[in-house]
Subunit: 380 residues, 2 copies
């Protein structure tokens, strides 16, 4: 998978480009909303398009357990099942097996685990994960890896990384030997591991690049390590990854993380934060996050952000949003999610425009001068 129309920043490693998939073109840097169980929580496909979503995620783990692959297969794949016409990325399922617990066994072959839903036994391996993702029919498939727990000693991190490399090689081999199901092409991304050890990260980036994936992800970050480590690891890895292929920083993150990571050469992001925070009344603005449930909003008959073009800000006041939260009205989860996803996409589009205009360092500067990461807890 070659990126096209690459434009780079002269000062930082920031880059803007296009990715072509059989379900459409993606402008990078891009944020990908997370549709865990076949739905980006509270949002319809039309909502996703209206907010500027170009590509969304599905989670293999959740979809495997419910509704199960038989139903997805008979629907003709995940795109058709959820009525999403655009590009779709699925993860390998591995991360949730590790993070949601209830793992019974991990071996060279793969993992055996119990469903968080009903305790039923399931297996995942590189081959099974590729089969599932062929059945899901995502445009971008992730190799099956072990997400190294944090903290990990260098020795543990290396053992885990080496297992990941063997699993990813098996993923690649199996993926290349088994064709897609639905007539559209799929791309396979490898995942760099190595915990917070720069030498392991460099080694991992080189091993995977030599294997030759369609794109590369950086995994095992945003799992509890200090921010400096997250940025440092990203920095060493993007120095090695081939510039003509896409780079995806998995599970990241907060608006400030996105700006920092774009400066380090990342093209793609996903995170549940904008939708999860929305459901808890935390809404993002260029001044920082705002808790719209706060008492001070009760008679503020102005939108969250008067300059925002999202449906929520164009139609509803902070006082109304607060009322809906207090009354547990279902509508508000959608209205808040619409705004937050729109904000994330505006942030990415602002960065794309800045990179293309040669202004990215200025954008970065302006963003950090204005954006107060701790605003939600403070005064208006």
């Amino acid at each position: 998978m070659q990126i096209r129309s690459l434009q780079t920043c002269a000062t930082t490693k920031a880059r803007s480009a296009e990715l072509q998939t059989d379900h459409g073109t993606i402008q990078t840097p891009v944020f990908m909303p997370v549709g865990t169980a076949g739905s980006v929580k509270s949002l319809s496909p039309d909502d996703l398009i209206d907010t500027g979503s170009q590509i969304i995620l599905g989670n293999t783990y959740h979809l495997l357990l419910r509704p199960g692959m038989e139903i997805i297969r008979s629907a003709g794949g995940l795109h058709k099942f959820m009525s999403w016409q655009g590009p779709l990325l699925t993860d390998s399922g591995g991360y949730q097996v590790f993070s949601l617990g209830r793992m019974n066994k991990i071996s060279e072959v793969g993992v055996v685990f119990q469903s968080v839903l009903d305790g039923s036994r399931h297996s995942l391996s590189p081959e099974i994960s590729m089969d599932i993702q062929r059945t899901l029919g995502s445009d971008i498939v992730m190799a099956f890896d072990e997400c190294t727990a944090y903290p990990a000693t260098r020795e543990v991190a290396q053992i885990s990384m080496e297992l990941t490399h063997r699993w990813e090689e098996r993923s690649l081999h199996y993926f290349r030997s088994n064709p897609p199901h639905y007539g559209h092409d799929q791309q396979l991304f490898g995942i760099v591991q190595g915990s917070v050890y720069p030498e392991l990260r460099k080694l991992s980036a080189r091993v995977l690049t030599d294997l030759g994936f369609d794109g590369y992800a950086i995994g095992g970050l945003s799992v509890g390590e200090p921010k400096e480590d997250m940025y440092a690891m990203t920095d060493v890895v993007t120095d090695i990854l081939p510039p003509e292929q896409p780079r995806y920083l998995m599970g990241v993150g907060k608006p400030e993380d996105l700006v920092q990571a774009v400066a380090l050469g990342i093209d793609m992001f996903d995170c549940v934060l904008p939708t999860r925070n929305a459901r808890h009344g935390i809404m993002f603005t260029w001044d920082g996050p705002v808790s719209v449930k706060a008492a001070r909003e009760k008679d503020v008959h102005e939108p969250l952000d008067a300059d925002c073009e999202c449906y929520t800000c164009q139609n509803f006041s902070r006082a109304y949003l607060r009322h809906l939260f207090k009354a547990n009205e279902l509508l508000v989860y959608r209205l808040a999610s619409l705004h937050n996803i729109h904000f994330y996409h505006s942030l990415m589009s602002g960065m794309r425009t800045a990179i293309q205009a040669g202004d990215f360092p200025q954008f970065q500067n302006d963003f950090f001068n204005r954006y107060d990461v701790k605003r939600a807890g403070g005064q208006r």
Copy 2:
């Protein structure tokens, strides 16, 4: 409030007309979705328009308790607070005081009750209800009445009805003496009571007609009485109400009830059924209600109704809806509500077209030949 463009059925008492409000024209017969706490559950104003909603309801009781009248007043009324540009009807608050319990005292003056939210003490009277509805700024205001409990002896029903008449006269007097707040006009509807006693219903209809309201509602039905009583009471009342003014059957009902009541000369309906049922997975079709959560839907990759033009049926399968219900995905409450509200409006629009074409008896016949009221529990 005069109806316009009245067209009547030659065989039944069905009628189709237009109602003019300062927020737009309403084509009758009309179904009004219920926006209890300032939101029709899970639906945005755009959703309401897309499904064909012409007028919606707000509940005085709920809005009085939360967010409270101070916030609604400072917002400039309920229309602005909830961003609904169309016609709006509010009830008097009385029904919820009686039905939600926690009433402390009922007297000639009015009622004292405790909030279901926090136990705080509140009063409602004809004058207070009119003040609140002036503050809400609804296009149609309901007089303050006592909804007679069912069953009631004739004596109890008469005492209650007479109290209602005194309260409604006070409502009318106070309403006429206190102007609207926001520059648009408001209409006041009287409410006919009298339980299941035809003589009381007739008397009530005459007393209220003599008082001279802008429109008339029939209250105290669909509260547990046999269907035949509901229809019989509607029939005797619509024989007396002035034909040039609108008639509203409060809190009704199921699709089959709407068809029957239109045949008896009713113009307006409201009910939480389509949205409440939607949230429980009961979706309406021309063949009857369908439980989309049923196991038999799990791999049905077809819309609920292939001929339905709602967003849900145009984009999603029964299998997907069932999956979303099983996964408790927020999106499904909106998708199911969109369909059910669209179905109710299609039913009303079908009746309007039939009345205007002189075909209402045929419509009625076709509807009851096809619609199976017990379908949800049965086989597909």
